[in-house]
Symmetry: C2
C-alpha cells in the first residue's frame, strides 16, 4: 500500500513534480541545463527572501547544506553559541563540536521559545566575531522561533556574530527576510516546503558570511562542502561536481508552481490549515504543544492516557503517515503535517483519522467535535 | 528538443527506472523503506564484488562518495601517492592536498597506463601505512587501468598502504573483485553504469580501511561524510540524515534490471559495443586514444584536420549528446559512450552520426566504411 504522507518531511510531492522526475535525464554541461540552473537558483533566492543574491544548490541532504554553510563561513576555533529547544537545534551544536569549536548551548524547554534576557546573558559571554546557530521552525517540537526578535537581541549584544539559521521547515512555509532580520545563513532541503523528494540542499549566505572565512588558511578543511569556489561556478550555471540534474528540473517545476499560485496565498493556506488541524486536535483533547506554532507541523499532545506511538500505528494501518515524537517526546507527541501537496480536505481527513484512532484507543470525545472545530477554523 | 545521451555520464536512464522516480515518495522511517534500503544495499555490494560486505549509499555526487571514503579511512597527515593519467585522477590528489596531506603525484601521459617499474620506484618512497589513490576507468581518457596489476605492485612495495579506487565508471561496467585484488575502497555514483540520474554516491571500504582511522582523534573533522557511525545505521536500514528515498527506490529497480538480464551478459554487451564503436571510428580515421580501452567510453581522436568541438556541436544539432575532450585533450578528443540504456542499434546510430559530421566538416572516408566495420565488430 502506498502511504499518504502527512509527516513534516518527506512530504507528498505534487503529480506534476513527480512527472518532471520521470523525464529523460538532462546533461549538465549543456546550454539548456545551465540556463535552467541559473533560472532555478534565482527563483530559489526569491523564495529565500533575497532575490538579488546567490542561493546555492547542493547535491545532498539538508544536513549537508547545513555543514556546507558552516564550513564555508565559520573560521576554525570560532566560539559558537547554539540555541537549543529541540532535536534539530542540537544538530548544529554537535556539528560545531565535531569541528572542535568551543560551544555554549543555550537550551529552552522543548515546545517553548527563548527568553530574551537569558539570550542576552548568554550573548554577553560570547567572544566577538562568534557564531550563533538556531533553528527557525523546530520540526521536533513544532515551534516557530522568532528569528527577527532573536536576531535583534544578537545584534545588540554581539553585533559581529554570524547568525546561522536552519530554515529546513520554514522555507516556503513562512516569509523569510534575511536582510531585514540580519541573518547570515539560511539552509534548507528539498523534501519539505518546496515539495520535492529528498536529495537537494539549499544554502544562502550573507556577504558578511562569505567574507568571514575568506582566508583559506583559517577555513575548515573541506572539499565538496566548501562553497567558495562553488559560488563562482554556480553563477555561471556550472558546478564542481555533477549536480542532481533531474532534481533541478523538478525543482524548477515546483517553484513555478509555488510562484504561479501566488506565494502569499500558499503561505496563508499553510498557516490556516495548520491552525485548523490544531483546532481539530484540541477539540479531541489533543492539546497544542508549541508555544508559538510553526505552520510546518501541528504538534499536539495525545489525549490523556493514550500512547502517541499507538496513534501513529493506527493511522499507518489506515494508510496515513504522520510523525510521532522524538526522544523525550516519544510517548505523547503527535506531529501530523500538511506541508506537502495538501488542500483543505486533507485537514478533515486527518482530524477524522485522529478521532477514530483516539476513540479506538479508549479516548472519549463528543462525536464529530474535531471535524466541527477544524471546519470552523478552515473558514476563518 | 530532448537530447539522446551518449556521454559517459549522466547517461540515458531506462524507462522503468524513470517510472520508479515518478512514484509517490516513501517515508524513510518506515519498515517498508528500511527493508528496501537493506535489500538495495545488498545488491549494490554484490555489484561491487563484495556481496557479504557493507556498501553504503550517500546522498550526493560521486565526488562526495570519494571524499567520504577518504575522510573515513585516511588518518590525518598520512602520506598519499596519487596515480595520475587523467582529470579524475587529479581530483584525488587535490582532495588529499585540500586536507593537508603530503602528496606525491605519479603521472603517466593521458591515454596511457602505468609503468610498473616507475610505480615500484614511487612506492619505495611512500612511508609505511600510506595511501595510494587511483582511478579504475579514467573517464577523461577512456583508459581502463589494470587495478589487479597495480595493486599487486603496491602489495609488494608498500604492503600496508591503503589502495583507494575511483570506480565511478567501472561499477556495472567491468567485473570488480576488491577482495581478490586487495583494494581498500571503491567509490562510485548513480549516473554512470547503474543508469540512474545523478544524486547518489556509493562507498565500499575494506575492513582494513574501516579500521585504519578507527581512532577518532586521528581522523579528519567531518560530519555527514564520516561514515563510521553511518555504517551501523545503514546496517539497520537507517541513515543519519534523510536519504534520497526516491533515488533508492529507483536504484532498486535499476539493480533488479541489471541482475535480471544477467550481469555477465550486460558487461559483455558493453565491452562488445564499445569495441564496435571504436572499430567504426577507426574506419572513419578516428584513432582510438586509450592504450587499454574502458568499456565505459570510446575515446577517439577526431580525424586529422577536424576540430573535436565542431564534431560535438554537429552531433548536438542532431540531438545526440556525446562528450568531447577535457583540458589538453579538448581540441581533438571525442568521447561517445554507450554506458546508458543502449543496444546494438545505438552503435550504428553513433557511427552514422560521426560519419556525417566528419564528412560535413571536410573529412574524406569511403561511404559506409564506419558502419561496415562497426557491424562486423558487433557480430564478434
Amino acid at each position: 500500500m502506498t502511504e499518504r504522507l502527512y509527516a513534516p518531511g518527506p512530504v507528498a510531492v505534487p503529480p506534476e513534480v513527480l512527472e518532471a522526475l520521470s523525464r529523460p535525464v538532462m546533461h549538465h554541461r549543456t546550454a539548456a541545463f545551465r540556463e535552467l540552473f541559473i533560472r532555478v537558483r534565482g527563483q530559489l533566492a526569491a523564495l529565500m527572501g533575497a532575490p538579488e543574491d546567490d542561493a546555492l544548490l547542493i547535491s545532498g541532504s539538508g544536513s549537508s547544506a547545513f555543514e556546507a554553510a558552516f564550513v564555508t563561513s565559520v573560521p576554525r576555533d570560532t566560539s559558537v553559541l547554539a540555541l537549543g529547544g529541540g532535536k534539530f537545534a542540537e544538530r548544529w551544536a554537535s556539528l560545531a563540536r565535531r569541528f572542535d569549536h568551543p560551544v555554549e548551548f543555550l537550551d529552552t524547554p522543548w515546545g517553548t521559545t527563548f527568553d530574551p534576557q537569558r539570550l542576552a546573558a548568554a550573548l554577553a559571554l560570547l567572544p566577538p566575531a562568534g557564531v550563533v546557530t538556531l533553528v527557525h521552525s523546530e520540526t521536533s517540537t513544532g515551534v516557530l522561533h522568532d528569528v527577527a526578535a532573536i536576531t535583534a537581541v544578537v545584534r545588540r549584544w554581539a553585533p559581529e556574530a554570524l547568525v546561522l539559521v536552519d530554515a529546513v521547515t520554514s522555507l516556503a512555509v513562512v516569509e523569510l527576510k534575511p536582510h531585514e532580520w540580519g541573518v547570515d545563513a539560511l539552509v534548507s532541503g528539498s523534501q519539505k516546503g518546496v515539495m520535492l523528494p529528498p536529495g537537494l540542499g539549499f544554502v544562502w549566505l550573507s556577504e558578511r558570511a562569505w567574507a568571514r572565512a575568506a582566508d583559506a588558511r583559517s577555513r575548515h578543511r573541506a572539499h565538496s562542502l566548501d562553497l567558495h569556489r562553488e559560488r563562482e561556478r554556480q553563477r555561471q550555471g556550472d558546478s564542481g561536481t555533477t549536480p542532481a540534474t533531474s532534481m533541478v528540473v523538478a525543482l524548477g517545476v515546483a517553484l513555478e508552481r509555488l510562484f504561479g499560485r501566488g506565494l502569499e496565498n500558499h503561505l496563508s493556506d499553510l498557516a490556516r490549515r495548520n491552525q485548523a488541524l490544531l483546532a481539530g486536535g484540541k477539540a479531541l483533547m489533543a492539546q497544542p504543544f508549541a508555544q508559538r506554532p510553526s505552520p510546518a507541523v501541528a504538534a499536539m499532545r495525545a489525549p490523556q492516557g493514550i500512547a502517541a506511538p499507538a496513534v501513529v500505528a493506527e493511522l499507518a494501518a489506515a494508510g496515513l503517515r504522520i510523525a510521532g515524537g522524538q526522544d523525550q517526546l516519544k510517548d505523547f507527541l503527535l506531529r501530523p503535517s500538511l506541508l506537502g501537496d495538501c488542500n483543505d480536505h486533507d485537514v478533515l481527513v486527518l482530524v477524522e483519522a485522529l478521532e477514530r484512532a483516539f476513540s479506538k484507543l479508549g479516548a472519549v470525545s463528543p462525536a464529530g467535535a474535531g471535524r466541527h472545530a477544524a471546519s470552523a477554523a478552515l473558514l476563518r
